[in-house]
């Protein structure tokens, strides 16, 4: 038995519990976002508009204050789970390495993405902490900050997907951490996130931070990505326990 290749593929129950947890974290993150971002928080579909005046922003958030406040708690919970989700993907890749490589790169992108997402949730929370006290343009800035961190960060979240894709494509033939189609899916995700970089230039229309192409598309694609990769992690954990 070649100790180099065989031992790094072994998975025991302890490992599989972690991998499955990574997958379920992803599912939980999606559900928590639907509650906190879609239903309560007004993040998607956007309650606010990039061309709203500061006064309009204050008015809109004040009208929905409590819902958004509760929503921001669900958002924090959702985004914190990006950490275990990402670590799950990295640990699966780690099994296919003798010396850590791509898994290390993925862990860093996981850390960066998770931290950024958490700041998004903090900004959203501060937006509704005391809008009556802050200068209205500061309330607007929290909204800008939240969307900018979420959307303008294409090299981070898109980069994360690229690292997952590369770890699949550079793997040995037939011995990949995730199926090859998942590699191509990850690359497609980068394309879907890319319009988010445009929000710098527009305050109206489909490329503004409330827009169809620059906001809806990346957000929805991102959570679909989490869903698919989570499904794969859970599937792998289950298959190997048989």
């Amino acid at each position: 038995m070649d100790s180099n290749t065989q031992s790094s593929h072994k998975s025991d129950g302890f490992f599989r519990s972690a991998l499955a947890f990574g997958g379920y974290s992803g599912y939980a993150a999606i559900i928590l976002f639907i509650i906190g971002g879609v239903w309560l928080g007004g993040m998607l579909p956007p309650l606010l508009n990039a061309s709203d005046s500061p006064a309009q922003v204050v008015a809109k958030v004040s009208d929905n204050l409590f819902a958004i406040q509760i929503g921001s708690i669900f958002l924090i919970a959702s985004f914190a789970l990006f950490g275990s989700f990402g670590a799950g993907m990295a640990m699966q890749v780690r099994r296919y390495e003798t010396t850590p490589g791509w898994s290390y790169i993925q862990l860093i992108f996981t850390a960066a993405g998770t931290t950024l997402a958490l700041i998004v949730a903090f900004a959203w929370a501060l937006m509704v902490f005391r809008p009556e006290t802050y200068h209205p343009s500061i309330v607007l800035m929290w909204a800008d900050l939240a969307y900018f961190i979420a959307l303008f960060s294409v090299p981070v979240f898109g980069g994360w997907c690229v690292m997952v894709a590369l770890s699949i494509f550079f793997a040995e033939e037939g011995n990949e951490p995730f199926p090859r189609w998942a590699g191509y899916l990850n690359l497609w995700m980068v394309l879907l996130f890319a319009p988010g970089q445009m929000i710098m230039f527009f305050k109206e229309g489909p490329f503004a931070w409330h827009g169809l192409i620059a906001m809806y598309l990346p957000f929805i694609a991102f959570f679909i990505w989490i869903g698919v990769m989570s499904h794969l992690m859970i599937k792998i954990a289950k298959e190997e326990s048989e």
Partner: protein
């Protein structure tokens, strides 16, 4: 050459790259439709703005990509059939076409911005800059892919996995070409 050519249907590259192509075509189809709606609803703005575009830049870019695709197609075919002495040169030529495209695009954008046209000028220029910009990103990625294919083509022997890599990478490059054909038609020629 060994073997006779049996017409056995075989997926060029691998099915994964075609899934990616499908995804990319889906996204760009939305872009094409947006341009068409813009043309329909704001015909005057679009037609006037289009006149500010320099057709020679667009034409040059189209010819560069078409020729680059031709080089890639030849290179992949020669590598697969094991004929030809320096197959790497086809990829070098294609990379040249890709880089020339990028340069040409930069000159074109500089000229436009210098003349006062930006993505904020009107909807035509918004679509023009953003969609050709996203396409330009594809070209840049495509050049990186071509560099990788160049390295593969220089290996002393190519196994079936190498051929699959060459074909898949080539298919991505042809996708980049294909997307430009429609963008060129919608933005420059209408």
């Amino acid at each position: 050459m060994s073997g006779t050519s049996r017409p056995r249907a075989q997926v060029p590259g691998e099915i994964g790259i075609w899934a990616f192509v499908a995804g990319d075509l889906l996204v760009f189809s939305v872009f094409f439709i947006l341009i068409a709606f813009g043309q329909k609803e704001m015909t005057d703005v679009f037609s006037t703005s289009r006149e500010s575009l320099n057709l020679y830049f667009g034409l040059c870019n189209t010819l560069l990509l078409l020729t680059g695709s031709w080089f890639v197609a030849i290179g992949v075919e020669r590598c697969r059939d094991g004929q030809g002495s320096d197959n790497a040169r086809w990829f070098k030529l294609a990379i040249g076409c890709g880089l020339a495209f990028v340069l040409n695009k930069i000159f074109e954008w500089e000229a436009k911005i210098g003349a006062g046209f930006t993505p904020l000028t009107n909807d035509f220029f918004m679509y023009f800059f953003i969609f050709t910009g996203i396409h330009l990103l594809h070209v840049v990625v495509g050049v990186v892919v071509l560099i990788f294919l160049l390295k593969v083509s220089q290996r002393p022997t190519l196994n079936s996995r190498d051929i699959r890599t060459l074909e898949s990478g080539g298919i991505f490059w042809h996708l980049v070409d294909l997307l430009w054909i429609m963008l060129f038609a919608l933005l420059y020629l209408l």
